[in-house]
Amino acid sequence: MKHTLSVLVENKPGVLARVAGLFSRRGFNIDSLAVGITENPDVSRMTITVDAEEHPIEQVTKQLHKLINVIKITDLDAEKTVARELALLKVKSDAKTRAEVMQLAKIFRAQILDVSRKTITIEITGTFEKIDALEQLLQPHGVVEIVRTGRIAIERGEK
């Protein structure tokens, strides 16, 4: 099962290296990692997805807590969380196939960012699964390059 950890850290140099280093040396695999500052410029938030079947999530969070710059860790409950990922896909497409690719993008409410003679670049926002689904549908056309941000997530409700 995938877990999404929302980790508040002090916005200080080297914090990302400490977190990433901890995962690698304790043998935990990071599926994705997104970092950005929060409403408080002294604090950053890392959203980390890990596969908890492989590693007990408790050990991961306890070890993370030992880092001095880590302030708070929340293991987000999927049902009480809104999660999104953004991806940019560059797909092979010429005049013959352009309409079909654009139609697929439209179904997924994706944006066209750039068009060249032989490619289309699409921006899609959504869940991990939605992005995978679009990617699979576009595969037969030839996906040249994909760039994904990794998951970011926020709890639902007033909290």
Binding site: V9, E10, P13, G14, A17, R18, G21, R25, E58, Q59, K62, Q63, H65, K66, L67, I68, N69, V70, I71, K72
Partner: protein, 561 residues
């Protein structure tokens, strides 16, 4: 005020009295400020020595040890010492010089990314980028190093930060939102633990280095006596429980006593305190204390259930938690006979499987040297060791009675640790007799610190159990690798006594059993740094021994025949 002066000032504010170090290009400003200060600096001959001295000083005194090195190779030479302190949770602040801040990242002369290199082996680290942060960073560093589960903190200081003119302000209140160690144990858990202890028929305490760090030895002894519970300690926990007490089982684990390992295996309640269920203690995890309910008291939440599932976890300071449990137990109805049968069983094991070795005519047995050190110092010395056979014999054949009198490289198992650690311990406790038990292999890893000991007149007594082998590895080769002694024979050796004399220390070579005691007495009385080269039986083994991957009750050797 200059940045370098602010560093000295910050060290004084932290209560630092002594530092161990060696200057270099990128710490010249710092050493210039040191020149005018009343901080006592010990010039070492290799930076690794400085780190181990700071470590030994910290373990003997409970204060935070401080070491200084220059950038690049100076800093990388500290790495083993920092890793050693990290594994054994020693409070230490390591200060390193760094290339000028505008040169960082350019592969400047003697530049090394020491915060990066040490990241996995420090509790925390800082690279100073603003000289006005010096007082705050030093205050935080000492606080982090010495509180919670202690550990080393590194402060990397570019040369220009030391030279900068600053408006020095003492650090304000510490603000570390991500660092709040839990000191007080959870009341409900403390009550559950007390109930489990009162209900147990075959309880055993498994006490680690946390007992010593927390100063919880009195509370441990009080509970053990009140409830009649036998106590085994880890290598790091030696001295945490007096071994002259009938309830003492000595050390457990791979080279633990037979009775400690049997008691743990057959216990119905295991009370782990300040210990981390290390593989050298548990052997095969699946069978470790397999009949026992497990209580685990530890400062570090990440240690709870890391290796083994715990029934009653309690995060907190060992002293606070044990005091809480003791108070609860005193309120409860207790049956003083509850563990009587269990104690009879323990006595039977002690009788059947005592620690022993076979004396051999014409040889100095290494265990005998340890027994003599014990007898002559009346178990009252600070004993330091490296890692290997001599370490295990010291752990087993010396009577450990008091905390902070046993300084050994536990987690990392560092050859070359003992001698500089002994120097640090003697600096911290000048009135104590400090003995370093060393191997002929390991002593050569920091032998250069003889110069430091002589130069500052630090009278530690080094007892080399010289068997001409890298003994512990040889033992494994003998037992598990068909006696193929690949590169463990030290065929070419210096005359240690002559080396010691050349450095200006007292040197003696001891080849006869009847001279052992006199040599130790002479060395202690000389009040000089001394090296005693005991030519012990070459192929003696440490027994009992649990082969790797076996259950701890599956010991080999050590049976009295």
């Amino acid at each position: 005020m200059k940045g370098s002066e602010a560093i000295i000032e910050s060290l004084k504010v932290a209560g630092v009295e002594v530092v161990f170090g060696l200057p270099g290009g990128m710490v010249i400003p710092l050493y210039d400020a040191l020149y005018d200060s009343d901080l006592k600096h010990f010039l070492v001959r290799h930076e690794q020595g400085a780190a181990h001295m700071a470590d030994g000083y910290a373990r003997a005194t409970g204060k935070t040890g401080v070491c200084i090195a220059t950038s690049g190779p100076g800093a990388t030479n500290l790495v083993t010492g920092i890793a050693n302190a990290y594994m054994d949770s020693t409070p230490m602040v390591a200060i390193t010089g760094q290339a000028r801040s505008d040169l960082i990242g350019t592969d400047a002369f003697q530049e090394a990314d020491i915060t990066g290199i040490t990241e996995p082996i420090v509790k925390h680290s800082y690279l100073i980028k603003n000289p006005n942060d010096i007082s705050r960073i030093f205050k935080e560093a000492f606080y982090i190093a010495s509180t919670g589960r202690p550990g080393p903190v590194l402060i990397d200081i570019p040369a220009d930060m030391q030279l900068a003119e600053i408006d020095y302000k003492p650090a304000g209140k510490i603000d570390l939102p991500g660092y709040k160690p839990t000191l007080k144990g959870h009341k409900k858990q403390i009550i559950s633990a007390a109930k489990a202890i009162a209900a147990a028929e075959k309880p055993v305490f498994y006490a680690g280095g946390g007992i010593i760090t927390a100063g919880a030895d009195k509370e441990l002894l009080a509970i053990a006596k009140l409830m009649k519970i036998p106590v085994t300690t880890t290598l790091m926990g030696l001295g945490g429980f007096p071994e002259d007490n009938d309830l003492s089982l000595g050390m457990l684990g791979m080279h633990g006593t037979g009775y400690a390992n049997y008691a743990v295996t057959h216990s119905d309640l295991l009370i782990g305190v300040g210990a981390r269920f290390d593989d050298r203690v548990t052997g095969k995890l699946a069978t470790f204390a397999r009949h026992a309910k497990k209580i685990h008291i530890d400062m570090d939440p990440a240690e709870i259930s890391k290796n083994i599932a715990i029934d009653i976890p309690i995060v907190g300071d060992a002293r606070d938690v044990l005091a809480g449990i003791l108070a609860e137990l005193k309120k409860m109805k207790r049956d003083p006979k509850k563990t009587a049968q269990w104690l009879d069983q323990v006595i039977a094991w002690k009788k059947k499987h005592p620690l022993h070795y076979k004396d051999e005519k014409g040889s100095i047995m290494p265990q005998f040297v340890i027994e003599e050190v014990n007898r002559i110092t009346k178990s009252n010395a600070i004993l330091c060791t490296d890692v290997g056979q001599h370490q295990m014999w010291s752990a087993l054949f010396y009577k450990h009675l008091k905390p902070r009198h046993w300084i050994s490289s536990g987690g990392l198992g560092t050859m070359g640790f003992g001698f500089p650690a002994a120097i640090g311990a003697k600096v911290g406790c000048p009135d104590k007799t400090v003995i370093d038990i060393a191997g002929d292999g390991s002593f050569q890893m920091n032998i250069q610190e003889l110069a430091t000991a002589v130069c500052y007149d630090i009278p530690v007594v080094v007892c080399i159990l010289n068997n001409g082998f890298l003994g512990m590895v040889r033992q494994w080769q003998e037992l598990f690798w068909s006696k193929r002694y690949s590169e463990t024979v030290i065929s070419c050796q210096p005359d240690f006594a002559a080396v010691a004399e050349a450095y200006g220390a007292l040197g003696m070579t001891i080849t006869k059993k009847q001279d052992v005691g006199d040599a130790i007495r002479t060395a202690i009385k000389s009040k000089r740094p001394a090296v005693l080269d005991f030519r012990v039986k070459p192929e003696e083994n440490v027994f009992p021994m649990v082969p790797a991957g076996k259950s701890i009750d599956e010991m080999i050797g050590g049976h009295k025949t």
